[in-house]
Amino acid sequence: MEVFDANSQNAIKVERLTKSFGNFTLRDVNFALPAGSIMGLVGENGAGKTTLFKLIMNVLRRDEGEISVLGQDNLAPGFDALKNEVGVVLGSAGLPDYLTAAQLGRVLRLCFSAWDDGYFNQMLADFRLPEDKLIKEFSTGMKMKIAIAAALAHRPRLLLLDEPTSGLDPIVREEILGVFNDFTRDPEHAILISSHILSDLEKICDYIAFLHEGRLLFCEEKDKLLEDYALLKLPEADFAAVPPGAVVSLRREPWGVEALVKKHEINPAFVTEHTTLEDIIIFWSKGGGAQ
């Protein structure tokens, strides 16, 4: 599936990606993340989101397909060097927690070619993170902030964020989402972010990709998704007039039927309700077809 204009510059392009291990298969995944945008990756636990991040960074070897990151095949010999331009935040942190923030800065300065001490220290100050306290003694929010500071301080063009807002209170989440928004003000920057908090993704994302049991059910512009789909609530008898092809999925309630429908494929006379990303994801996971 060609999702976006082939001529646009993509930060990530994934084509026909397949990876199997154990009982799990990530099957025929296709998407492209254009530069200057944020894509939200949605899916249940075990849907393949973290696997996809690992495949993109060539931590896992793919079985089939192509992945290019910032215009370079991720199996190319120079890909390790290209990682200088990618910032990664893992929800489970992964930073050596026996270091202080200042020590972490000194270590990472030697690991990244474009490490910016001034920017790192500025972010520590902005996030109100103590320089001389062990990371293991930080709160969950502080750990996430130091991970984000570490991911940004080497001036990457692409951010890969795996559950960066999970377990954080709404105020910290808002602060962090602001940082991500600022990052993509540069048209060369892009973010791929996974989260279970769909309201966060609805706030910041330009595109939404939905992984379900190892398959990409859709990858669309967020605004188009919200524009194309609507909730329809009708008594059972009236629902028969809705074209079956317009229904993504439905649930029967004692009062009738609630369905996610393609707004432009039903009679405009039907009164629909505005849908949220959460509604779309929930209905799609119950009944949507793949890609």
């Binding site: 690992k54 050596p96 293991k136």
Partner: protein
């Protein structure tokens, strides 16, 4: 960014870890290396265990998962741990020889008598400590692939089991055949060079295997 800078970063991280958690380790190594007779050998045993101990702290912090996404190769990540072992073995070797030299110089000044043989810097001691150093590097070469394949806890168990089998087999062979009766016409320098060459080769092969083991465990490659 080249592998050299990546290595420097990884080593700095490991030294911070040692300084944070393993000061007692350092103290014990220092004390043992200054002891008389063949006791400095014990400090080298600690040096062998050091890289795996740090790996345990790294695994606890899930650092390997993040490190795999940073701009250095598996080879750099793996070699960093070997290098740490080499650095400690080298420093201990230098300390052992230096301390004996110091004993040799200050003993007569303080006690008015020649240095006790257990503290003296003899050719025999120098040879012994050089071989001990090489032996520690051989042990490291034998254990590291298991550590990288199975993680610190299981890996150590497997390598201790291996050491036990090798030690037991050697003891059995030594009992079967009187090896002291063998007359080897090899000079000590040649023997040392041969041992050094074997150690070097073992470490080169071990490092290659460790990279594969690490990839297999982390990347499913």
């Amino acid at each position: 960014m080249n592998a050299k800078n990546g290595l420097r970063g990884l080593l700095l991280k490991d030294f911070y870890c040692i300084w944070r958690y393993l000061k007692i380790y350092l103290l014990l190594m220092l004390v043992f290396v200054l002891l008389p007779g063949s006791l400095p050998m014990l400090s080298f045993l600690y040096a062998v265990l050091l890289p795996a101990t740090i790996l345990a702290y790294d695994e606890n912090a899930k650092w390997p998962e993040l490190a795999a996404m940073l701009p250095f190769s598996s080879r750099t990540l793996v070699f960093g741990k070997y290098l740490l072992g080499y650095i400690f073995a080298g420093v201990l070797l230098a300390l052992a020889l230096l301390s004996r030299l110091v004993y040799q110089l200050i003993w007569p000044l303080l006690l008015g008598a020649p240095v006790d043989n257990d503290f003296a810097l003899t050719g025999e001691f120098a040879f012994f400590i050089l071989l001990t150093c090489l032996a520690s590097l051989v042990l490291e070469a034998l254990s590291m692939p298991f550590i990288f394949r199975y993680g610190n806890a299981k890996g150590r168990l497997v390598s201790f089991l291996l050491f036990g089998i090798i030690f037991g087999a050697s003891l059995g062979i030594a009992r079967q055949f009187d090896i002291t009766a063998l007359e080897l016409n090899i000079s000590l320098p040649v023997l040392f060079l041969a041992a050094a060459a074997i150690t070097l080769a073992l470490n080169a092969v071990s490092c290659q295997i460790s990279v594969r083991m690490y990839d297999k465990r982390l990347r499913g490659a």
